[in-house]
């Protein structure tokens, strides 16, 4: 870990300003991702601006939906009555991730910002375009069992590893950010993360110095019929091989509208418009769920070691929809 200047910010403007002023400065929230990466010399900030004491951890009703503070802890968010009642999908997604201790530390903003778990990204002796642009992608022709099957480029095949964001994508959340100039803007969460393309070093569309202040959830009709499914290499405390955030709005036995988001398959949560279209207006049945699953995975392009994700993805979509529809 390189030496760095530590400052404790007491107000958002100062925090954003401080980071904006120094290209090598970063925000410090829960620290669970950035400190790990700093120890590994993957992240090398020379200044950390501690935002933990900013008053940005409120969870409250807003605009018919709910606004969750960027600095609210994952565990407090998951267990907030407003979330549990209205957005159980989000609760399930959060508690499927990491561990009790980590969720007590991790903030919602930091969680959206978490970086990939690609092994090559973590090992500074290995090539990795995301960590060190131009060095090549170690995983493309290396070990890529845990890598992407959608949307990758030959520059990077990493996945976004988080769980919470998969639910946020399904719930059409909006990310509220504050620029160093004090201006606020909102980014629909679907546009928050990027595909790797030629610039895999960029995970998302946040500008340097922009501070996430809140995540806003619009009013949702999915509370009754949603499910978060996570398949991993052990029962808990592991990242997803494949995850599915499924949400249905039912009208009798029919699907009025649906959300299907796959996690662990792309550089960002992979929302499947194809699957959602295949479900809308159809009966909530295993058969139509299967069709939706086929549609969801139809465009998948697996790598040498992750073809299983295609089949696993299909089955996971079916299972998640079945659970959401309460058919199993």
């Amino acid at each position: 870990m390189r030496p760095f200047k530590y400052t404790r910010a007491s107000d958002a403007a100062v925090a954003a300003g401080a980071v904006a002023a120094n290209p090598n400065a970063k925000f410090l929230a829960g620290g669970t991702n950035i400190l790990d990466l700093m120890k590994e010399d993957v992240e090398r900030p020379n200044e950390l601006v501690d935002v933990n004491r900013l008053k940005l951890s409120e969870i409250k009703e807003a605009r018919g939906g709910v606004s969750i503070g960027a600095l609210a802890k994952n565990s407090d968010t998951a267990n907030h009555p407003l979330i549990r009642r209205n957005y159980p999908l989000l609760t399930q997604a959060i508690v499927a991730g990491a561990s009790g201790q980590l969720r007590n530390m991790a903030t919602n903003g930091g969680n959206l910002m978490q970086r990939t778990r690609c092994q090559y990204f973590y090992d500074t002796a290995m090539p990795c375009n995301k960590r060190e642009p131009g060095t090549g992608c170690g995983a493309l022709e290396g070990l890529n069992r845990i890598h992407a099957i959608f949307g990758w480029s030959d520059k990077c095949v990493a996945t976004y590893p988080g769980d919470m964001a998969n639910a946020l994508y399904a719930l059409d959340a909006v990310v509220r950010v504050r620029g160093s100039n004090g201006k606020e803007r909102t980014i629909p969460v679907n546009d928050f993360h990027r595909l790797p393309g030629d610039t895999p070093e960029k995970d998302n569309n946040l500008a340097h110095g922009e501070l996430i202040t809140a995540i806003e959830l619009p009013k949702s009709n999915f509370a009754k019929n949603s499910y978060y499914l996570k398949v991993r290499d052990r029962a808990s405390y592991a990242f997803a091989l494949v995850a599915v955030a499924a949400a249905l709005e039912l009208d009798g036995g029919n699907v009025r509208q649906a959300r299907v988001v796959l996690g662990g398959v792309a550089h960002k949560p992979w929302r499947s418009a194809e699957a959602e279209a295949a479900l809308a207006g159809r009966p909530a049945s295993e058969e139509s769920f299967r069709r939706a699953a086929e549609a969801a995975l139809a465009g998948a392009k697996p790598l040498a070691h992750n073809a299983y994700k295609v089949e696993l993805g299909k089955r996971a979509v079916v299972r998640a929809l079945m659970r959401a529809a309460r058919l199993v």
Partner: protein, 738 residues
């Protein structure tokens, strides 16, 4: 009737461990301590072309940066970095870091940065820049499989009977190939040493399973008499074989401390552990079984190939137990090794046995299905009444009873043979079984007892307690034979100031060190008897040491307890405040006439989600026949540990190498998956005690390894039973079951 042996007892070190007072290697303080941080290389083979330490040296707090260029030559011969001794007499040439520019494996240590603080050392380590002349490397055992050869150690394996011929004519055959991923021990405590010199005397706190071997290693490394080196290792946070050999870091730490004339601490990072202490080798096994229609085995051909390093030979003896499990007249079971550019493998819990038995016990299951004979039945049909290898009788073997009792308890009768025939809702249920086997080993060991007139005793032996409960069991044995209470016994271990004991490995501690403590206690009694009988009027006149026992401060005749003397009085009469005896126990001659082995039957239930490929081990029963059980509570914990390790090996653990770079790519606990709490469910142990008067005076056999041996096979067999899928490659991750 024993007072303590065989009764459950909580750990005597329990309070120390739950309050955080137990001190592990990295936790010892020393004045003026400096922190070392290891720098790892980045090619798999070749030489270091250049190494630039200038930036690191300029970093704040840095005391010195050691590389091969400025590190004194260590060890008996300059430039010998490898080849550990094969026995106690042979010279110790085990791998020492920073001795030349030669690179033998990726992530080999190339520098040690020492600084005033841990943070400073860690940072400066990143500033060391090395370049290499890389050479073509091979890390894939599959690629060198054909060139595998017999280890040069020991006689080349000879076939029994004519296995090839017998296989050809066998009525039923199974031929299959099995693979086991490379695995790492990953004890929770990272390896660490704190070294301090006082002139040419070295004190080192180390994580070790054998303090004497570390002492010898360091004495040869630094050319000082062994007596000058004190190795202390009172608590070990798990090791599982990873601290059986002296790893490279104690010498590195002591070197830095000597050069800098101040104490130095070096702690492996989790990542450094993956190339810092060896691993369970990647193992490919080919098995051919031939049998009569009745199920009787007529031929067994079991060939294992696993990796070793290019600079040392390591054999896991994968197929060793294959020769002793089933009665079969025709057999060939060689273990071959193939050098690759990786660190040398080492023993890892149930070494060889768990790998070999995975293949053999899966093949037996496959054979059972071919024959349509119940898998347990098949094992009984081929039960070995005598050791098939040597023809000697077993000193004891209650395996048949284990099979039967386990089957009863598990409800095996309810099992339907057909795969995919049992369900729990959407989940497929599978029941599998396998045999566990391990040697009842014993090595020479010594213990010293000082017994005081007040009934208290101080007992020492340089063994270790990596978790099995050695502190507790030795306390119990001492109290049993000194006739005092466990709370009057203070047992200490893990220090070269104590009498020599073997490595805590191979499940031999209780048999070896326990026998020494037992012997020392009897020696105390004999001494007291001699003292008592100096008195003409002693009621014990004429009694031999074997006729007496100590109990509650009295020495008394076993067959007539009314004849006794007060020990404090005897001691007072002789002006003695304490009596000290050291005893060395050795394996008896008698043992040679027998095969001495521990056995067990292991049963597991799995539930498999057929859609998602998720496997849960919902139930496991260990039925264990390993002589006498001293402390059933800790023994049960050992069996539980064996099951958890079996779950890891079967379902989650694999060290992954990118062979293009020859580099381990998952050297951490996020990508290397050891089982977590949610992976583990009910585990039961049934002890079938054996009266074994041959193995050792206490009648104990080891059990730490035994409990793991059959589990991976039992799980794989249960997965087959549940799903109809025979996965022959561990670990069985969800992708393999889709």
């Amino acid at each position: 009737m024993p007072r303590y042996i065989g009764k459950e007892m909580s750990r005597v070190d329990g309070v120390a461990k739950v309050t955080g007072r137990a001190k592990y290697a990295a936790e010892f303080r020393a004045p003026n301590l400096a922190y070392g941080f290891i720098v790892l290389g980045s090619v798999a083979k070749g030489t270091i072309k250049s190494i630039d330490t200038s930036e690191a040296e300029r970093a704040p707090g840095v005391v010195r940066v050691f590389t091969h260029l400025n590190t004194p030559k260590l060890g008996p011969k300059a430039n010998t970095e490898y080849a550990p001794p094969r026995n106690a007499r042979e010279q110790d040439k085990s791998f020492r870091a920073l001795q030349s520019d030669r690179i033998y494996f990726n992530a080999q240590p190339v520098a040690l940065v020492v600084a005033e603080s841990y943070e400073q050392a860690r940072y400066a380590a990143r500033l060391v820049k090395a370049t290499y002349d890389a050479e073509k490397h091979t890390t894939d055992t599959e690629a060198v499989r054909e060139s595998a050869r017999s280890p040069s150690q020991g006689p080349p394996p000879k076939p029994r009977g004519n296995p090839e011929e017998a296989l050809k004519t066998a009525a039923v055959k199974v031929e299959a190939e099995y693979r086991i991923a490379m695995e790492h021990h990953n004890p929770m405590e990272p390896h660490a040493a704190v070294a301090a010199w006082d002139g040419d005397r070295l004190t080192i706190f180390d994580k070790s399973q054998e303090v004497y071997s570390v002492r010898r290693h360091l004495a040869t490394t630094f050319g000082v008499p062994e007596a000058n080196v004190t190795v202390v290792s009172p608590y070990v946070g798990g090791a599982f074989g990873s601290s059986l050999r002296p790893n490279y870091y104690p010498a590195l730490t002591a070197m830095a401390a000597r050069e800098l004339k101040r104490p130095v601490k070096v702690v492996y990072t989790r990542t450094q552990m993956f190339t810092g202490h060896g691993h369970r080798p990647y193992t490919i096994q080919k098995i051919a079984l031939g049998a009569e229609r009745s199920g009787k085995l007529t031929s067994m051909i079991h060939t294992a190939v696993h990796n070793t390093s290019t600079f040392e030979e390591f054999s896991d003896n994968t197929t060793g137990f294959t020769r002793q499990v089933y009665a079969c007249p025709n057999l060939f079971a060689p273990t071959l090794i193939a050098p690759v550019d990786l660190p040398t493998p080492t023993w890892m819990r149930a070494p060889g046995a768990v790998s070999g038995m995975f293949a053999l016990e899966c093949a037996m299951d496959e054979l059972a299905y071919k024959l349509n004979i119940d898998p347990l039945e098949l094992r009984l049909i081929n039960y070995a009444e005598r050791d098939p290898e040597s023809g000697r009788p077993f000193s004891s073997k209650a395996l048949r009873e284990c099979y039967r009792l386990g089957a009863e308890k598990f409800g095996w009768k309810e099992r339907r043979m057909e795969p995919r025939s049992m369900r729990d809702g959407r989940l497929l249920v599978g029941w599998g079984t396998a045999t566990g086997v391990w040697g009842a080993f014993q090595s020479p060991a010594s213990a010293k007892i000082t017994y005081r007139a007040d009934g208290t005793a101080h007992v020492t032996s340089a063994t270790s307690d990596i978790g099995p409960g050695t502190y507790t069991v030795m306390t119990m044995i001492a109290a049993e034979y000194l006739g005092n209470r466990p709370e009057q016994v203070k047992f200490e271990l893990g220090d070269t100031n104590f009498p020599r004991a073997p490595a805590q490995g191979g499940s031999q501690t209780t048999s070896s060190v326990g026998s020494a403590v037992h012997g020392a206690a009897l020696a105390v009694a004999a001494r007291l008897l001699a003292l008592a009988n100096q008195d003409e009027s002693s009621p014990l006149k004429g009694a031999a040491p074997a006729d007496v026992e100590m109990l509650d401060g009295r020495l008394r005749l076993k067959r007539d307890p009314s004849k006794s003397v007060q020990i404090p009085e005897v001691m007072r009469r002789n002006n003695l405040a304490e009596v000290t005896e050291t005893f060395e126990s050795r394996p008896s001659e008698e043992r040679r006439k027998y095969a001495t082995m521990a056995h067990g039957a292991q049963f597991v239930e799995v539930k498999v989600d057929p859609d998602l490929g998720r496997v849960r081990v919902t139930r496991a029963i260990e039925v264990t026949a390993c002589g006498k059980i001293i402390n059933p509570k800790a023994s049960h914990s050992q069996e539980i540990g064996g099951v958890v390790w079996g779950i890891g090996m079967a379902l989650t653990e694999a060290t992954e190498i990118d062979h293009r770079f020859g580099r381990i790519m998952n050297p951490n606990l996020q990508h290397y998956h050891v089982p977590v709490n949610a992976d583990v469910h009910e585990i039961e142990t049934i002890f079938v005690e054996e009266d074994d008067t041959v193995v050792n005076p206490l009648g104990v056999k080891g059990m730490g390894e035994l409990g793991m041996v059959g589990i991976p096979a039992a799980i794989a067999n249960a997965v087959f039973h549940a799903t109809g899928r025979r996965v022959r490659e561990l670990p069985i991750t969800p992708d393999k079951l889709l």
